[in-house]
């Protein structure tokens, strides 16, 4: 069981991600944008960050870059949620220090498979 920070401005996506991960026994922290996520990340210790890219206030790319500057997040897996149309976004995420990505749309099973790949 791991602590996972799920960041998405869309409540329905966040609900689905959180519900799926909780169902697999993980603890899930939720944030609606990068700023909120960054605040949570500073206070809590997190094993994995899953973040949407397009968000208000602070987007997923900026969040990734900022997280990598925190000592506790140097090696933490960070996955971005991207759509197939934004191929360059995968690379933008990686350039900012993201570990990998999950392509939208995904179903709960795919999400769990990817999460298991980076945990443990």
């Amino acid at each position: 069981m791991a602590t996972i920070l799920a960041v998405d401005d869309s409540a329905s996506m966040r609900q689905m991600v959180a519900f799926t991960l909780k169902g697999a026994g993980h603890e899930v922290l939720e944030a609606g944008d990068g700023e909120e996520a960054y605040g949570i990340a500073q206070r809590k210790s997190v094993n994995l960050v899953i973040t949407d890219v397009n968000m208000p206030k602070m987007d997923g790319i900026a969040l990734t870059r900022k997280l990598r500057t925190l000592p506790g997040y140097k090696f933490t897996p960070i996955l971005t949620l991207t759509t197939e149309s934004t191929a360059e976004k995968k690379q933008a995420g990686k350039a900012a220090g993201a570990t990998g990505w999950i392509v939208k749309p995904f179903n709960p099973e795919q999400l769990l498979a990817t999460v298991n790949k980076v945990l443990g």
Partner: protein, 679 residues
């Protein structure tokens, strides 16, 4: 484990509709040529969320359509496509299509196939004119040659800092077949020079099995660009200088979106089912009643002979505090239901824009007081009447550009919407600087319809008021937009049903103002308590004109039965409430009796009561939900002493009186009588 995705649909629909509204208002705020990057970003984000959600939750038609919208928006925000009038037009239509699609998949109506196909066609045409270059390149899958693969994997020094761990990659590879790993430690520095956070190792891996090259590459997908990777079939003789590493190109990092500025209305809020709020409001209503009962018990103790003064003081302090807290609690709870009127105003920029194009007029819309709050229920019901009034202003009020120039007005007409609080009401004004109402034309029309008897000249106010009569339109020709004469009467009726009213002020050549007055909420009412027999009734204060003592000589019986009261220049019917409700003994004489003159739906009547009690705010309880619908009553309330008081439906009672209900006295209305008398 299996997750039922349908449970997230409700949230998805709600946020999608909100997203569409946000897209629409942002699109309307965009200037062609000088589009604000942040606004476009916001629109893009909304479309992006809808696409992601609809794909995830299985609404592929919505996702496909949104994909094209998103592509167009993406090109706009990256600056590779200018923001044109045409583009905005298509995007606005797309918002309409998406709204209809989402409503359809939610189960409200049919899929807008024809419309969707048309708009999609236009989107594709536009996208094809200048390919933004977002074609997805699918990695061509290569067939697996029997044996397996030799993989030379040389991570760049920083790879660990992306959170990618080689051991996880190997673990994943091992799932594809039999894996043999050999580490290359030749680049490892001496221990003293070793930086534990960088990667100095390289590996040669041999994978035996059925996996294709595509499968293998997929495992290394995330580290592409962070390593040198060479993959070649096993069993092939290595070329002289060893494998040439395929260095993946680093991504261009210059296209990062500008950091977003928080948009309005994004403060912390939670979504709550309206039924929960109503339940709290109801409970607080009960609490108010309980508090009021306790207060009365406390007061009555004051007269008790065995009063413990000290304890009574404490009790009274406590009760006073309870009253204060209850009142504050009630106000805060009512506040939850309050929404800024911008929710109702938001649709107007779009309507004005579309209509002025359709009508060939130049019209500027100005809105004031959008943050003025009112009850959600009132808001929902006032939307359509407001739309009607605004359409009227656009169609009938504002003149065509040429006509305006001719009379020395600026070419562009102005329609203003303003909302503000006044007393316990919200006032909404719809003003235009158009041609105003034509008094003579209205009068002629009223005469031709027999509304005004020959020889009688109504006041100007009365003449203008005729626009609210059913089937009354002064438009010379019926247009698509309005002018069919249905509507203004409905507008007034709907507003009256909410306990408000609408008035009209107009000046020929200068413009027209409609003033809509509405109660802030439908759950509280300012009432006049009256006694009839041994029962208390509430008459809504808003409908009361005056209260007076009856003079017998002013009473005349018309047509044998109907009792009319001569109130200055008017005759109003007398409603004997004791007989209507079968309460109390019949009056021997009317002289000196109390009569409350009240108005409903533009008609007046005098209501006979036995006593005028206090005025107070009452919490309205629905009779329909708690008992059943009763004619002549609009609801009930519970008074401080715990007794129930019924709330009179003034308009309904007058209506019933005019239509000759057997239980009532009069059988004809005041106006009809007046007209007969005049004729």
């Amino acid at each position: 484990m299996s997750v039922d995705i349908a449970q997230f649909h409700q949230t998805f629909f709600e946020e999608s509709f909100e997203g569409l509204d946000a897209m629409e208002s942002a699109l309307l705020g965009l200037d062609v040529g000088a589009a604000d990057t942040e606004t476009i970003n916001g629109i893009f984000r909304a479309a992006h969320s809808i696409k992601g959600g609809s794909a995830t939750f299985g609404f592929s038609a919505v996702a496909n359509f949104t994909h094209r919208v998103e592509t167009l928006l993406d090109q706009m925000r990256e600056g590779s496509r200018p923001v044109t009038q045409d583009g905005l037009e298509i995007l606005l239509q797309s918002v309409d299509v998406l709204r209809a699609m989402l409503e359809a998949v939610r189960g409200d109506g049919a899929l807008p196939d024809a419309m969707a196909a048309e708009v999609q066609g236009r989107l594709e045409t536009m996208l094809a004119t200048d390919e933004g270059g977002t074609v997805e390149s699918e990695g061509d899958p290569q067939a697996a040659p029997g044996d397996g693969w030799r993989i030379v994997f040389r991570p760049h020094q920083h790879m660990l800092q992306t959170g990618n761990d080689p051991i996880r990659i190997f673990r994943e590879l091992a799932e594809l077949g039999e894996l043999n790993v050999r580490a290359d430690t030749s680049k490892l520095p001496s221990l003293t020079a070793l930086d534990p956070e960088t990667c100095h190792l390289a590996w040669t891996l041999e994978l035996r099995g059925e996996a294709s090259e595509g499968d293998v590459r997929e495992v290394f997908d995330w580290v592409e660009g962070d390593c040198d990777l060479a993959i070649e079939p096993l069993g092939r003789v290595e070329g002289g200088g060893g494998a040439v590493p395929v260095a993946a190109q680093a991504a261009p990092a210059d296209k990062l979106p500008v950091q977003a500025r928080p948009s309005a209305g994004e403060g912390g809020s939670i979504r709550v089912d309206i039924a929960k709020v109503d339940a709290i409001i109801n409970l607080v209503g009960e609490l108010v009643i309980t508090q009021s009962m306790l207060g009365q018990v406390g007061e009555s103790m004051e007269d008790s002979p065995h009063l413990d003064v000290q304890r009574f003081e404490k009790l009274r302090d406590g009760l006073a505090q309870l009253e204060r807290n209850t009142r504050e609690l009630q106000e805060s709870v009512m506040q939850i239901r309050m929404l800024p009127i911008s929710f109702a105003f938001n649709r107007f920029p779009r309507i004005v824009r579309d209509l002025s194009q359709q009508l060939g007029k130049k019209i500027e819309l100005k809105m004031f007081g959008e943050q003025t709050e009112l009850d959600k229920t009132v808001m929902e019901k006032i939307g359509d009447p407001l739309v009607h009034l605004v359409r009227n202003a656009l169609d009938h009020g504002i003149e065509a550009p040429d006509d305006r120039l001719e009379v020395g007005k600026p070419e562009t007409g102005v329609v203003e919407l303003e909302a503000y609080h006044k007393g316990g009401n919200i006032i909404i004004e719809i003003r235009d600087d158009g041609r105003g109402l034509d008094r003579d034309k209205l009068l002629a029309k009223a005469r031709s319809r027999g509304l005004v008897p020959d020889g009688q000249l109504p006041s100007d106010a009365d003449i203008y008021d005729y626009v609210f009569h059913p089937g009354f339109s002064t438009a010379d020709k019926v247009s698509d937009v309005s002018g069919r004469g249905v509507g203004m009467d409905v507008v007034r009726r709907n507003i009256k049903a909410l306990g408000g009213n609408v008035e009209i002020h107009t000046e020929k050549g200068r413009g027209t103002t409609f003033t809509v007055r509405l109660p802030l909420t439908l759950s509280i009412l300012d009432g006049q308590l009256v006694r009839v027999g041994d029962q208390s009734y509430v008459i809504p204060l808003v409908s009361i004109v005056e209260s007076l003592q009856i003079r017998q000589r002013q009473v005349s019986a018309i047509a044998g039965k109907a009792e009319m009261y001569k109130l200055r220049d008017d005759y109003i019917p007398i409603v004997r409430l004791n007989e209507v409700f079968g309460d109390g003994s019949p009056y021997s004489t009317l002289e000196g009796g109390l009569m409350v003159v009240a108005e409903g739906d533009g008609n007046r009547a005098g209501f006979m009561v036995d006593d005028l009690l206090g005025q107070q705010q009452v919490v309205i309880k629905s009779l329909e939900t708690n008992f059943r619908r009763v004619e002549g009553l609009s609801g009930a309330t519970i008074l401080g002493d715990g007794t129930v008081a019924l709330i009179l439906d003034v308009a309904g009672l007058i209506q019933r009186f005019r239509h000759g209900d057997p239980s009532s006295h009069a059988s004809s209305g005041p106006r009809a009588d007046q007209h007969n008398a005049a004729a």
